[in-house]
């Protein structure tokens, strides 16, 4: 990352983005008490993307030096020229926004050493093993990541951005009637390890809580399949906002026929629901994945998708913004140096309401309280699904038996119409990764929602 991109601007002949990037991560894992993984990963390099007559050329090289830059600019320009000559399209130039310059401050103090981190995780592992000997298995995994990007565009935008994330994942497994039952949770989020985890014992109350949930899940029952009234905890609402609405509102999917394309300025949700893809700051605080400038050099702005139930907009890169004749929102993002920018969410959240979560549960006669999500998927029809690894029956306003792992689904724009309570409690899910061709870190947030969804079961 010690390369001055500005010295290569003379190589640009068409609209060009030149990006130098370094992704670093450290993974340390204990599995059933054994230190199975101690791995540092580092990938870095340079890439260029060139736009010509409505088509793109892209090239990347791991050599982040003058030769590497010359190679990627030349190869990307040649690729664009090859395709432009074949396709013979004509397209107006991409919109030019204000020239943006953004520089995050670099890290100044070194992070904890691998030796300190191994000892830290080992202490957590020993706590779990000592306190809960009935567990069949346990995992304790640290994943510390650091993404550094430098960007220069032919329009004059320039940036250095730095994103760090520190996560510890705890997984517990117990056997019940000869079959395994598991539960896991991710702790931490944006920022440095020592900020989130000053000492191992700061995690113990949360591990104890995770174990208590596992003991109840061990006795869990299958949910009754079908359409049910459910309270989605904030952790699930974040996934709902991302999978069910966010993807449907990505302008490239809209151009591909997403159902959202026909609903602009129409009611798509209860008036209690407002949804925003935040750029960097939300509700007075920095978001889990703050983006100040995207990988096309656009200044990142909040994208209001749903305003009190009305669909108000989409997520754009420069090309789709030109198509829809709106300003670009700064949603063009790439994960690795060798990835081309795609329209991606940043920090997608449903805004908090006025109800209290306790009152929402107390007012539910028969349904489910769904607390922890796993993976999710979306569709252009707005049909979504995501896994639920922890939940409880709610009977007559009280939490009942835990339920086994399940999946919920529905058509987002129908499900959101059924929302009749929104909690004031709000939470970001900070360990999220979205997989749309490339993996990328995202923030997902929301309050608790009471709504009707399809639940899988027996």
């Amino acid at each position: 990352m010690n390369i001055d991109l500005s010295s290569f601007k003379s190589l640009f002949t068409d609209y060009t983005e030149l990006r130098c990037q370094e992704n670093n991560s450290l993974v340390i894992s204990f599995f059933k008490g054994n230190n199975t993984t101690n791995t540092r990963l580092s990938t870095s390099g340079v890439s260029a993307r060139v736009y010509k007559d409505g088509v793109w050329g892209f090239a990347s090289s791991p050599e982040a030096n003058a030769d590497g830059v010359k190679f990627v600019v030349t190869a990307a320009t040649d690729n664009a020229a090859f395709l432009a000559a074949k396709e013979r399209q004509s397209a107006p130039p991409l919109p030019r926004g204000a020239v943006v310059v953004h520089h995050d401050p670099p890290l100044t103090t070194p992070p904890p050493s691998p030796e300190q981190l191994v000892a830290f995780l080992q202490e957590i592992d020993r706590y779990i093993a000592g306190k809960y000997p009935n567990l069949a298995s346990r995992t304790v995994t640290l994943n510390r990541t650091e993404l550094k990007k430098a960007l220069l565009t032919s329009d004059g935008a320039s940036a250095f951005s730095l994103h760090t994330r520190s996560l510890i994942q705890i997984g517990l497994t117990v056997e019940h009637d000869g079959a395994p039952v598991s539960l896991q949770e991710v702790f931490g989020g944006r920022g440095r390890f020592e900020t989130h985890f000053p000492t191992p014992d700061t995690l113990y109350p949360q591990i104890d809580q995770l174990y208590e949930h596992l003991m109840r899940k061990r006795e869990g029952v299958y949910p009754t399949a079908g359409l049910k009234t459910c309270i989605l905890a904030p952790e699930l609402t974040g996934i709902l906002a991302h999978e069910a609405i966010g993807h449907t509102c990505e302008a490239d999917l809209v151009l591909g026929g997403s159902v959202a394309g026909t609903k602009l300025d129409q009611p798509v949700a209860s008036p209690l629901v407002s949804l925003v893809d935040f750029a960097h700051t939300a509700l007075g605080e920095a978001c889990p994945v703050p983006i100040y400038i995207d990988d096309e050099g656009t200044s990142a702005t909040d994208a209001l998708l749903i305003d009190h139930g009305i669909l108000k907009g989409f997520l754009h890169n420069k090309e789709t913004a030109r198509h829809f004749q709106v300003p670009p929102t700064g949603n063009a993002r790439a994960f690795r140096y060798s990835d081309e920018p795609l329209i991606r969410m940043r920090n997608t959240a449903i805004l908090p309401g006025k109800a209290s979560l306790d009152q929402m549960i107390a007012s539910l006669d028969d349904g489910y309280y769904l607390m922890r999500p796993s993976n999710g998927q979306a569709d252009a029809t707005s049909e979504f699904m995501f896994g639920v690894t922890l939940g409880y029956e709610v009977k007559n306003g009280r939490l009942g038996r835990a339920i086994k792992d399940t999946t919920i689904s529905g058509l987002a724009f129908q499900v959101l119409q059924t929302v009749n309570e929104v909690s004031r409690e709000f939470k970001w899910l900070s360990g999220g990764m979205c997989g749309k061709k490339q993996l990328i870190p995202v923030g997902l947030g929301g309050p608790a929602l009471k709504c009707q969804v399809m639940i899988g079961g027996r």
Binding site: N38, T39, S60, A136, D252, L253, S258, A380, E383, G456
Partner: protein, 430 residues
């Protein structure tokens, strides 16, 4: 320095710097990719990358470093760092590296893409789809040629070189449906050459034809326990799920696998014979060496329902005392059945043609639930209508124990060879 020279240098530096055991793997990758977006060819992408993975063992402490640089000065610094990572680790007696095997070089596929032919095949594909399947919307597609050279060496004398190249095509599509579109679906395949038109590859023509029919999707009729006819696209996912929760490192080391005491016992339906065949001639992609440094061999997993092999790594085998797997899994080849798909379809009384499963990761005990995507309701042996908002739930192990038939036809994905499977006992709710 050549790939081999640099890798040899890195391994030598690790042992000279004090590693008791060491491993160096260097992969150079060149990829050329054409991308289509919303029906139009939009991007050509050329990427060059290196991956160097260094591993050191010292007093049974293991450290690894993965970086994408391949010059000597970077390697020198990386060697010192990986030794420091290993020194910081906690000891684990199960860590080791692969034993000596004779040196070998493996070659497969081409060395460079034919860019003009890639373009020509892509354009023919889009025009054929437009002509034959007018309702289809091609959301995105990419055709890439990837060439990799991998050198795998360790301090026990393992010395493998792999040169491999081929084309991969992947498509995501939907169908026009009123003012909007149907659910999207995706498929793809791997091929060593572009002799055939892309539309003839994998299951593309079948899936595009189904999506193009244009019936309005509906929910399944209420909740019932029914049958599923699992398509080859969907079967690959289900097989990965099944093997992951039963015969891989995780559940076997944890001691929670339901198959942990079942080697050479009947564990799934006798109608299922499954092999992982990374070096079989019918698998165009595949791999020649395992991730822990053994020459990969084809392996039967289930022979007429009997468990014949675990898929344990060297670490997993040493930790459990069970035999190491002959490969890393995948490259599935399922032995075809006796009956054509049309005959099997007629035997389905009430259930689904399951084209795609969109669900949460299955539980460690095999329970699964999710949405039946791009799927069809079957009653009295006939496809009735496409489904929407329909969920399925069941148990993977029970599902594979309940197989009623395996089709004679198989789809060749280049990376797997798979039939349709008829099974029972899935809760279906719409």
């Amino acid at each position: 320095m050549s790939t081999k020279e640099l890798n040899t240098y890195a391994l030598h530096a690790l042992t000279q710097s004090g590693a008791e055991k060491a491993e160096a793997i260097l992969t150079r990758t060149e990829k050329t990719e054409m991308n289509l977006e919303n029906g139009a060819l939009k991007l050509i992408r050329t990427t060059v990358d290196h991956h160097l993975r260094l591993t050191a063992l010292q007093n049974q402490r293991r450290g690894s470093l993965l970086l994408n640089k391949s010059d000597r000065s970077v390697v020198d610094a990386a060697v010192q760092e990986v030794l420091a990572i290993a020194a910081a680790a906690a000891p684990d007696p199960a860590h080791d590296i692969a034993e000596y095997q004779p040196a070998k070089t493996f070659n497969k596929g081409g060395t460079a893409p034919d860019l003009d032919l890639m373009y020509q095949r892509f354009k023919t594909f889009t025009s054929e789809v437009a002509a034959e399947f007018p309702r289809i919307v091609l959301l995105n597609a990419h055709l890439d040629f990837t060439r990799q050279t991998t050198c795998f060496q360790n301090s026990n004398g393992v010395d493998f070189t792999v040169n491999q190249g081929g084309y991969r095509f992947a498509v995501t599509f939907s169908a026009q449906e009123g003012p909007g579109s149907s659910s999207f679906n995706h498929t793809g395949f791997f091929t060593l050459d572009l002799d055939e038109e892309l539309l003839n590859g994998g299951s593309l023509r079948i899936l595009l034809d189904q999506a193009n029919r244009g019936q309005t999707p509906r929910k399944s009729p209420g909740k019932f326990t029914g049958e599923v006819l699992i398509t080859p696209d969907c079967l690959e996912d289900f097989l990965h799920f099944l093997l992951e929760i039963t015969i891989s490192d995780g559940p076997l080391i944890a001691g929670t696998s339901p198959f942990r005491h079942s080697l050479n016992q009947l564990v799934v339906s006798p109608r299922l014979t499954l092999a992982c065949c990374p070096v079989a001639p019918e698998i165009s992609s595949g791999y020649f060496i395992t991730s822990d440094g053994y020459e990969a061999q084809n392996a039967t997993i289930f022979a007429n329902g009997v468990l014949k092999s675990f898929l344990l790594s060297q670490y997993g085998a040493r930790r459990t005392g069970l035999p190491r797997g002959a490969n890393d899994g995948g490259a599935f080849v399922v032995t075809p059945g006796d009956h054509p798909l049309t005959v099997i379809m007629k035997k389905v009384k009430k259930g689904l043609l399951l084209n795609r499963f969109s669900g949460g990761a299955p539980s460690p005990n095999g329970d699964f639930s999710g949405v039946a995507k791009n799927s069809f309701y079957i009653e009295d042996g006939k496809i009735q209508y496409p489904l929407s908002e329909t969920m399925i739930a069941g148990n993977l192990i029970s599902l594979f124990q309940s197989i009623a038939a395996v089709s004679r036809e198989r789809i060749d994905f280049g990376s797997a060879l798979l039939p349709w499977i008829h099974a029972h006992g899935v809760t279906i709710s719409g």
